[in-house]
């Protein structure tokens, strides 16, 4: 277990910036997910933590000690790769025991600890198999056992679930979370899948173009995204762009291009005349056949209805705008092609500055 501190780290490849001015503190036993689209610098960050590449500038501290210049084999880290990277010529036992052997542990102890690690990932009795004889999910667990058996200071997971099928992925997500809590290793998890990150991690770090956009719990990021990118990347968001026309107390009035005015909670301290965006989650909106008093209302044509079992996805077209609405089963929906109102309370959504 360890704390990890990333201080103003930048990585450039031949002048191209992969990570720029990144700073992050991860505490003892914390599970942090680096989340972002491909090319956002999350894997580069992970590789710098592992020591496979060195930052161009800035510093990484593990337990307050700089690891600059320390090669990977001296860092005491466990890495689970996207490809699992098991040793094809070694059986499961030797794969998991590899790191212990490197630490000069007695064979009897190695056997004991490998057995325990395989028990944790529920793979006892497979020690004699070779990686090619295992399913993807089993290989993934072996990779995890191999990484945690050495009791690393930091566990790094590089998209470990992306090669599994959907059902297994969901199951492994919770298992990884549970194993991580049980053994209490400081963990950094890289993924481009927001559901994975939200289900597994204590804190999410949303990245884009080599920079951190927002750090927070899943709830904080979903409910109060700091900018339109985060709002769109985590979950679905309707972005209503406009200009602030009035500010009254903690409420701001936003003038949409259509001329319509809507009211929203003014968290960010927007001032009159400023360009702003209201980010609304599809479930913040409701449908009605007439204008609802005290609410923001938008009228439009129901252009699409998708029945998805527990809820229904609706799309409302209002001029240039296309608004996604999630209606719970049994709620008012109307018919496709019908003129209808979408409404939401002024307290819903987040007013963001462009």
């Amino acid at each position: 277990m360890a704390t990890v501190e990333i201080n103003d780290v930048t990585k450039k490849y031949n002048g191209i910036v992969a990570v720029s001015g990144l700073s992050l503190r991860i505490s003892h036993g914390e599970f942090v997910a680096l989340l972002g689209p491909s090319g956002c610098g999350k894997t580069t960050t992970l590789q710098m933590l592992a020591g496979f590449i060195e930052p161009t500038t800035g510093e990484i501290l593990v337990d307050s000690c700089s690891v600059r210049g320390v090669p990977p084999h001296k860092r005491n880290i466990g890495v689970v790769f996207q490809s699992y990277a098991l040793f094809p010529h070694l059986n499961v036992f030797d794969n998991v025991g590899f790191g212990l052997k490197m630490r000069g542990i007695a064979p009897a102890d190695i056997a004991k600890r490998v057995k325990r690690a395989l028990g944790i990932v529920q793979l006892s009795s497979l020690d004699n198999r070779y990686p090619r004889e295992l399913s993807g999910g089993q290989q993934q667990r072996v990779a995890l056992a191999r990484a945690i058996v050495i009791e690393p200071a930091v566990l790094l997971l590089d998209e470990p679930l992306s090669n599994l099928d959907a059902n297994l992925r969901e199951q492994m997500r919770f298992e990884i979370r549970e194993i991580q809590k049980r053994v209490g290793i400081t963990t950094v998890f890289v993924t481009h899948d927001q559901n994975e990150a939200m289900a597994a991690a204590d804190r999410l770090v949303v990245m884009s173009k080599g920079e951190i956009r927002q750090v927070g719990t899943a709830q904080e990021i979903y409910e109060t995204p700091v900018d339109p990118f985060v709002a769109r990347f985590i979950g679905q968001a309707n972005l209503l762009r406009g200009k602030v026309t009035d500010v009254r107390g903690d409420e701001a009035e936003l003038g949409l291009p259509s001329g319509q005015r809507i009211v929203a909670r003014n968290r960010g301290g927007a001032t009159v005349g400023q360009a702003a965006v209201l980010a609304l989650r599809p479930e913040d909106l409701h449908l009605a056949s007439q204008v609802q008093a005290g609410m923001n209302n938008i009228t439009g044509k129901l252009s699409r209805l998708n029945y998805l079992g527990s809820y229904i996805n609706a799309e409302l077209r209002s001029g240039e705008l296309s608004i996604a609405i999630t209606v719970p089963r049994g709620g008012t929906i109307g018919r496709e092609g019908e003129e209808i109102f979408a409404y939401w309370p002024p307290t819903a959504g987040v007013l963001l500055q462009e």
Partner: protein, 265 residues
């Protein structure tokens, strides 16, 4: 799907190709058992006399040993050098990477005769002897591009993440190489060894220039002999090589599998 008729024709074609490539060898082997004093097919009678004749010719027996020594030496050194070169070329990016790659593969496009002539001039110019060692050096230069190819192909298929995983688990670079990379590229190295051995054992063009009475490989010996004589001795010598190759093939098939050796399976 291939229609049945076409499939049959394809089968006939495959058999013809096999006959085409094996028939000359078969003819030589049959001729070697002739009782006549000249090369003729089919042989008028059968005898082992030309095998007995071979055993009575010490210079041929000596050439077999020289060829074997040269081939073993050249293939081992070429494979070792090829492995190191392949690691550099496959695993590292550096200035002049492309240039070096082309340089290492350049001997492939050089005709053996021209290379042999150049080597002969070089040796004469600096007063270097033409012996087994220079023969081995010549064969290393000829076979090295193949060794680099074989090991590179094996190395490309070893994921970098596997090496990184070993490092993250506490293995330094040297240990990672010996215990992770090397076992995984071993089939490529064995293939390189076998192929460069055969190549070296077979080499005539460049060897003609480097050979001397004290260092004459078997193909050169046959070449020189056939220039003066035309008797079935060369067929018995050639047949012995065919038998040796067959035994080698059987051993490889039993231990490694020929297909796996060349990455077909």
């Amino acid at each position: 799907m291939i229609p049945d008729k076409a499939r049959h024709l394809l089968g006939v074609f495959a058999v013809l190709v096999c006959i085409f490539s094996v028939a000359p060898v078969l003819v030589i082997v049959l001729e070697s058992f002739t009782s006549s004093d000249y090369i003729v097919f089919p042989p008028p009678g059968l005898s082992f006399k030309w095998y007995v004749e071979f055993a009575k010719r010490p210079e041929f027996v000596e050439s077999v040993f020289i060829s074997a020594i040269v081939a073993v030496g050249a293939s081992m050194i070429a494979t070792a050098m090829g492995t190191m070169t392949a690691i550099g070329l496959v695993r590292y990016q550096f200035f002049g990477h492309r240039l070096l790659q082309n340089l290492f593969l350049a001997p492939l496009s050089l005709p053996g005769l021209i290379f042999g002539l150049a080597l002969l001039q070089f040796l004469a110019r600096y007063g270097l002897p033409r012996n087994v060692i220079t023969m081995v050096l010549a064969h290393i230069i000829i076979t090295l591009p193949f060794a680099i190819r074989f090991v590179s192909v094996a190395l490309v298929s070893v994921s970098r993440d596997v090496e990184r995983a070993a490092q993250s688990l506490g293995a330094n670079r040297l240990y990672t190489f010996w215990h992770v990379t090397l076992p995984l590229i071993r089939p490529g190295m064995v293939a390189s060894f076998v192929f460069t051995f055969i190549l070296s054992f077979d080499e005539v063009a460049a060897s003609l220039f480097v050979a001397s009475p004290g260092a004459m490989t078997l193909p050169v010996r046959i070449f020189v002999y056939i220039d003066q004589n035309y008797d079935p001795l060369v067929t018995s010598v050639s047949s012995l090589l065919v038998f040796a190759a067959l035994i080698a093939l059987v051993i490889i098939e039993r231990t490694l599998g020929v297909g796996r050796l060349f990455g077909l399976r």
